[in-house]
Symmetry: none
Subunit: 202 residues, 4 copies
DNA sequence: TATGAATGAGCATTCATTCAT
DNA sequence: GATGAATGAATGCTCATTCAT
């Protein structure tokens, strides 16, 4: 149906997005290897050959999906600020994180799968580190500002907490009363970053 | 070479264990679908046909592996106690958890893969819940005893923290200075379960 | 951009020639089956659909290419002469043959491929025989005039020699010092057609 | 049916030979690319998967076929002799060549196809040169002994003649009255290697 | 005339599983 | 218990060809 180069381009973009959306969902649900090209084309309502008009291989498709999703995810964080996070900004940060996860559940499911099985996409871990570095740096500075004597360790603890919560959110979204739980995680974060009393002996 | 029924049985058991060990490692490293029966038999030094003498299918093999690993893992926890955990016991608990993970890295890698992609083994999540229920119950009681006004929520927070840390341990064992990090996680746990001060407004 | 029917016709002709030239080169280099329509259109700078505006199928394209090349090749031989070849004309004949091959290397590479693998183009061999018949007849007469008692056999020998040399020229043009080798072949031809002495007993 | 390692090995060898024979015939007739694995398995009466129990790929199959055929072909030539060919031996040589070609027509058809289209099997030409080198060296010495002042050039002429004749034999076996033609080629060879009279001016 | 998105049959290859020995 | 040849369905991918524009 399209004709002009512009319409054509627009058409291609939409079609590609359709394919990527379908593929992401299937990859997330069933795994990369267990999802066949046929399944994708069937669900997307296109022919098998057409996939290769848009992607050079199944692997390439996965890479474009993760790249796009990462960009989509991180463009929401405003990281151009020069100062250090205020408490309010930190709170926003955590909340924003959960909101993004909740709106891209399929991607985050795929994210964990790829993290855990690095063989599937060689570059995935590096890509993630590169993208998340600026964010982690902001948190690091925030922890320093808040008086942490071991910001690296505290960052690790905080990351574990949030990553673990996201994992639960992704794996068992139904048993996760999201509003309340986010508040709990947020409170836990603040409790962890406040100046510590004497820790228990172990 | 074995002859008596008893020796025969012993022989079968050892062979089966060999196959399961090899398969677990390969499943963990490469993923269930990406690991072929051929790879397993090659690494185990057996013929392809023999696999089906011990397992009815590849899927069945996976199920036996996870079942066995779960039993292996949880038999280490002494859960027959009737009372409620002391602080020392709780500490032991957490430390024991990390020790077990570190000694069964392959299984825990597979654990996350199966958690995240339920299509691979339908029953996995239920099996896990059933097995971990008694443990979570103990922690629940411990939180109550420690004065928690929301033991369910606090349990979730604690689980997130520990699960998140284990994920890091499994995914990036090299960048995880395990001794120190376990202490940090332990401290964080105690900080989270001590009676809360006024939380920050958000 | 062309408008008048005549310009249009001219345009079509040029475009068709472009496609055929590109296709011939690719067919020769990579083989008919291994060369895709996409490769041809890419190299010719046209769209995929356009090919079918000029040819009804890939097979048809091949046939038009070989037909055209044959005509091109044989129109250079002046075969309207009524008499029999002189020695000078025979020499010119052989030299002309090598010149033509050297100027149409791609076609002659394809020629051998189609000769050897008749499945690719059913009609190729017949077409060749039909085209080369008048030439062979001239040589036949020339051999008779030169006193051959077995012109058919001698024609076969001569053809083998020349065809074999052309094969070398086409397959390994670099190791073929063409000037010298053509002289050698020419001398060999004359030696073969001169009245034979007593052949060796075998 | 087989059981002992020896029977098994024998069984494998026969099966492999069966596949290679069928494949050689189809490759020769239709070309490498135009012959599908399905065609081969259908004609060989085996399942598609079994091919890959014997060959790692279609390409590998081709390579094993050419390697085996070369060895088969050249083991017939007794090249261990230290002296130089006698006339009788040279005659035997040429006759043997034609006999071998006639008994392995499919291979020689494939031979020309691979020669002409080097893209199909990269190593083919080198393999051929390596195998035929000792033979060509013997002819070279024979030409020298016979008084050739340009043995290299004469070798080329002789090769062209024989190669050309073989090409005809392979491409059009029906129109080639083999007995007579071999004699003609043999006579032509001797005529070409006898001390030349004054060549014609050109 | 010219485009290129779309098709679907066909390809080489893989792999869990079977079974005669 | 153990072997490995054999199967065939399914996979990712290619490509000549069509057709709406």
């Amino acid at each position: 149906m399209p004709r002009s180069p512009k319409q054509l381009e627009e058409h291609r973009k939409q079609k590609k997005k359709l394919i990527m959306d379908v593929a992401l969902e299937l990859f997330a649900k069933g795994g990369f290897h267990a999802t066949s090209i046929s399944q994708i084309t069937r669900k997307a309502g296109i022919s098998k050959g057409l996939i290769y008009n848009y992607f050079s291989s199944k692997q390439d498709m996965l890479e474009e999906i993760t790249e796009t999703a990462y960009n989509e995810v991180y463009k929401n964080f405003d990281l151009d600020k020069d100062g250090v996070l205020t408490n309010e900004e930190f709170i926003f940060f955590i909340k924003e994180t959960f909101r993004i996860v909740r709106e891209n559940m399929s991607f985050w499911q795929l994210y964990f799968a790829l993290m855990v099985q690095p063989g599937i996409q060689e570059s995935f871990s590096e890509k993630y580190q590169e993208k998340s570095k600026p964010i982690l740096n902001q948190i690091y500075a925030f922890l320093q500002k808040n008086g942490s004597t071991d910001p690296e360790g505290d960052l690790f603890v905080l990351s574990s907490l949030v990553e673990g919560a996201i994992l639960y959110l992704v794996v068992a979204p139904d048993i996760f009363p999201s509003g309340k739980m986010e508040d709990k995680i947020l409170q836990a974060c603040f409790r962890l970053i406040s100046t510590p009393e004497a820790p228990p002996k172990n």
